[in-house]
């Protein structure tokens, strides 16, 4: 064991204290997660009912008679008093029964599963690609901040933050699809991922769009965290104890720098997921976002509730995973209980 490792151990504290607090923290955090989910469901229910309009309208056209309107309202249950609707909503939710769509009459869970097969790969691939771009460039921008290319990376990333994501999408389509004819401009194959080749090519431009935009802000965080590490006492100490600069940076700097970045990444991943809504529209992808937009237009309550409930769950889970990862990476946080870092 070299000197710097000994030093790191002193900071982390005794090893046997590691597992129990993490377990307790996880449990506490899970309770909070379930509670947040319940609150989100109630808020959702209320907000949806506050919107003007009626879900029965989506089933009807101009020319419908009074009797037809009444029958449509009875079919979707919008003629019931709010408290009756609320009780059935909560009791179904407790059984994880998201119901069937008013309009398409398809099972909401099944449909969400179908849509997630587009949105999840899009989010995850976009996020990973953004990380691959942002981490090395962010570190270079910090370490070489005095060089012209370090400054250039900084400036370009600032520009990236300012550009709206749909605009990047349109630019990429115009370049790669319309002018160069290299990639499809949008849409998703009828057979989905069973047609792996076409499905993958359909994903390239959307993933590229997300990763370009997301990497710009991520790069800023990585750069800031790295700059902080560079100016830290422990890095200087590690250097003094004989580590080379890259060795010190990788062994001590990365882990320390990662702590603030991870909590930001949790938020970024969640916003990548939500940003996929916009991207799905630009590229006409059959994901969760396009399902949600249509469901809102039609006041298709089961679909809206289902999508928002699952999205909330995913976002909460991402936050949960980020907090947990942060505690694994940084032992100092483990004793601090359930509060946000």
């Amino acid at each position: 064991m070299s000197g710097p490792y000994q030093w790191a151990r002193i900071v982390s504290g005794p090893q046997n204290r590691k597992t129990r607090p993490i377990l307790a923290y996880t449990l506490r955090r899970l309770v909070i997660l379930l509670f947040s989910l319940l609150v989100a469901a109630v808020v959702l229910f209320i907000l949806l009912r506050l919107l003007p309009g009626d879900p029965a309208n989506a089933l009807l056209g101009v020319g419908a008679t009074e009797a037809q309107i009444a029958s449509a309202r009875a079919q979707v249950g919008s003629d019931q008093p709010l408290y009756v609707q609320f009780i059935s909503f909560i009791s179904n939710l407790a059984r994880f029964d998201l119901g069937t769509s008013f309009v398409s009459r398809a099972s909401v869970v099944e449909e969400i599963g179908n849509r997630l097969s587009v949105t999840l790969p899009l989010t995850i691939l976009g996020f990973v690609a953004a990380l691959i771009i942002a981490v090395p460039l962010g570190i270079i921008a910090a370490v070489r901040s005095t060089k012209w290319y370090g400054a250039a990376i900084s400036v370009i990333s600032q520009l990236g933050i300012a550009i709206p994501v749909f605009w990047v999408g349109i630019l990429l389509v115009s370049l790669f699809a319309i002018n160069l004819r290299l990639l499809p401009s949008g849409g998703f194959p009828l057979k989905g991922w069973a047609n792996l080749g076409e499905a993958s090519t359909a994903m390239i431009l959307p993933v590229l769009t997300i990763s370009l935009v997301m990497s710009a802000s991520m790069l800023r965080y990585v750069r800031a965290a790295t700059l902080e590490v560079l100016g830290s006492d422990y890095l200087r100490t590690a250097r003094a104890l004989g580590s080379s600069f890259p060795e010190a940076l990788i062994r001590h700097g990365l882990r320390n720098g990662a702590v603030p970045v991870i909590s930001i990444l949790g938020i970024e991943l969640a916003s990548t997921f939500l940003g996929a809504v916009v991207i799905e529209r630009v590229f006409s992808l059959p994901g969760l976002g396009s399902m949600l937009l249509l469901a809102i237009q039609q006041r298709d309550y089961p679909n809206v509730q289902g999508v928002l409930f699952i999205s909330t769950l995913l976002v909460l889970l991402i936050g949960f995973a980020a907090d947990l990862t942060q505690r694994i990476v940084d032992p100092r946080l483990r004793d601090r209980g359930a509060g946000t870092p």
């Binding site: 003007p52 989506a58 037809q68 009459r105 194959p189 994901g287 237009q297």
Partner: protein, 497 residues
């Protein structure tokens, strides 16, 4: 076919019917080709009586399902599954004989029981079909044998064959058709991925002429630009209905694409609530009609496309007459009429405006036109769903913008309970009388008369008729150009080898 202006509508229709003939390109097309159709109108389910939206007509009418009669792309009503029919002297009993050799996609033969079942699906208590009302005179459907259907009516109904063209004939053993189908059409449903695409494969057991292609894929887009890009990148072969004239520049004057303008039935109107002041005053309505430069409005929205209309009736309805001169643009006379009506200083009112194109733009244009004659219009943007509750059901509005897509829908003016509340006993009588007319000529005469009266009354402010623009790759021909009632018959489409 190249770009066809609205002045050459007739030419477009003639060319289209030529293209429709299977003989025209008999040697040159690929009989097994896959035709990829790009559209913005994805059906929400597969049942046209359960809120599936206009997309289901586009994909399934005539392609997957057939009816006793068919509304053709030219606007005529032709027999389809009905081989022959007789009407009793009093006009109350229709006896239909069904075509021989027709089978459903499931292999079951077509019988009279299927027809009875299918009509009752539309007239049923729980039916959401907008056609339910027009079939309300049916009192009984009998099936004396497998090939004969006898429909008895409570009152004469000259449009019965026309109304039956909207009734899909479904196998009576098919319980739920919201996600599957069992029709008699030239295509059967192959696969449907919600939010993405729907494919139809040629049905080998079809009773009639075989389609001139092997497969049709409707590819759905949520964004008009994405749809246009798909055609530009050869991801689709044809776009069913272009909704923005700006995008047409990419296709016109390019020999790789064909742009056609057909006759649409979609009317953009400013409907007043004729029950409430000041719109219960015909002079006010006429004044507001004269205050709007509709040619300028149409041009600003659609450029050289689209058609001006002087009433609710488009040129493809048999009772069309050119009424654009009745309340032609004349702001000075609009001001005079307002003074005569007791509003020398104008008045203020609110236009409930659906939040989607082109309504907000149209509302702004109207606002500035009305301001020139001293009338202040406020714009209240609402969603389509809210429109249905507030305007259509509760009739709680002063004026509203809406696009009315249906063919032959002047009958709405004969219903004083309709959302716009136009109530002229003479028109009510004419429209009811037209339905119980003894001949098509009598029906046409009565509706023409009603048409002239609603125009004189300025019952609503009819702004313009949308163009129906189809763009295709130039190697694809034979598609319908008019798209009446949103139909898009795919069986005549040919793709050059």
């Amino acid at each position: 076919m190249s770009l066809i202006s609205r002045r050459n509508l007739l030419v477009a229709t003639l060319l289209a019917s030529a293209a429709f003939s299977p003989l025209a390109f008999a040697q040159d097309y690929d009989a097994d080709a896959t035709i990829r159709i790009g559209s913005l109108y994805e059906p929400q389910n597969l049942d046209n009586t359960a809120g599936a939206g206009q997309g289901i007509n586009e994909a399934f009418n005539g392609n997957v399902y057939e009816a006793l009669f068919q509304l053709t792309d030219a606007g005529t009503v032709e027999p389809k599954l009905s081989a022959d029919y007789k009407v009793s002297e009093d006009g109350l009993t229709y006896t239909f004989t069904l075509k021989d050799g027709v089978t459903f996609h499931s292999g079951e033969p077509l019988t009279a029981a299927d027809v009875k079942y299918s009509i009752e699906r539309v007239t049923a208590e729980t039916s959401k079909s907008s056609r339910k009302k027009s079939l309300s005179t049916i009192t009984s459907i009998e099936t004396p044998d497998d090939k004969t259907v006898v429909i008895t009516l409570s009152a004469r109904s000259i449009s019965l064959p026309y109304n039956l063209s909207y009734v899909w004939i479904v196998n009576d053993k098919a319980a739920d058709i919201t996600a599957t189908e069992d029709g008699t059409g030239p295509y059967k449903l192959e696969e449907w991925r919600r939010g993405s695409a729907l494919s139809l494969a040629r049905f080998d057991g079809y009773w009639g002429d075989k389609p001139t292609n092997g497969e049709v894929v409707y590819q759905y887009f949520t964004d008009a630009t994405a749809l246009n890009n798909a055609l530009l990148t050869n991801a689709v072969d044809v776009i069913t209905s272009v909704q923005s004239p700006d995008s047409l520049a990419q296709f016109t004057g390019n020999s790789a694409y064909t742009v056609t303008e057909g006759a649409s039935t979609t009317k953009e109107i400013l409907a007043y609530n004729d029950r409430v002041a000041p719109f219960d005053n015909v002079k006010v309505r006429k004044a507001l009609a004269r205050a709007v430069d509709k040619a300028k409005l149409l041009n600003s929205i659609w450029g050289d496309y689209g058609t001006l209309i002087g009433s609710f009736v488009p040129p493809t309805d048999p009772w069309y007459v050119d009424l654009t001169g009745v309340d032609a643009y004349n702001p000075d006379s609009a001001k005079e009429l307002l003074t005569e009506a007791g509003y020398p200083d104008g008045f203020e009112f609110t236009i409930d405006t659906p939040d989607y194109d082109p309504h907000p733009l149209v509302a702004q244009f109207l606002q500035s036109e009305f301001a020139k004659v001293g009338v202040k219009a406020n714009i209240n943007i609402i969603t389509a769903n809210e429109w249905y509750t507030k305007v259509y059901q509760e009739k709680n509005f002063q004026a509203t913008l809406q696009e009315h897509v249906n063919h032959r829908d002047i009958v709405f003016y004969g219903n004083p309970d309709f959302y716009w509340g136009y109530n002229n006993p003479e028109v009510v009588k004419l429209i009811a009388g037209a339905e119980s007319a003894g001949s098509v000529d009598e029906q046409t005469a009565k509706l023409t008369e009603a048409n002239k009266i609603i125009a004189e009354d300025a019952a609503s402010n009819w702004l313009y008729l949308y163009p129906q623009i189809v763009v295709s790759a130039s190697n694809v021909t034979g598609y319908p150009v008019n798209g009446l009632n949103s139909q898009f018959f795919a069986y005549g489409i040919q793709k050059a080898k």
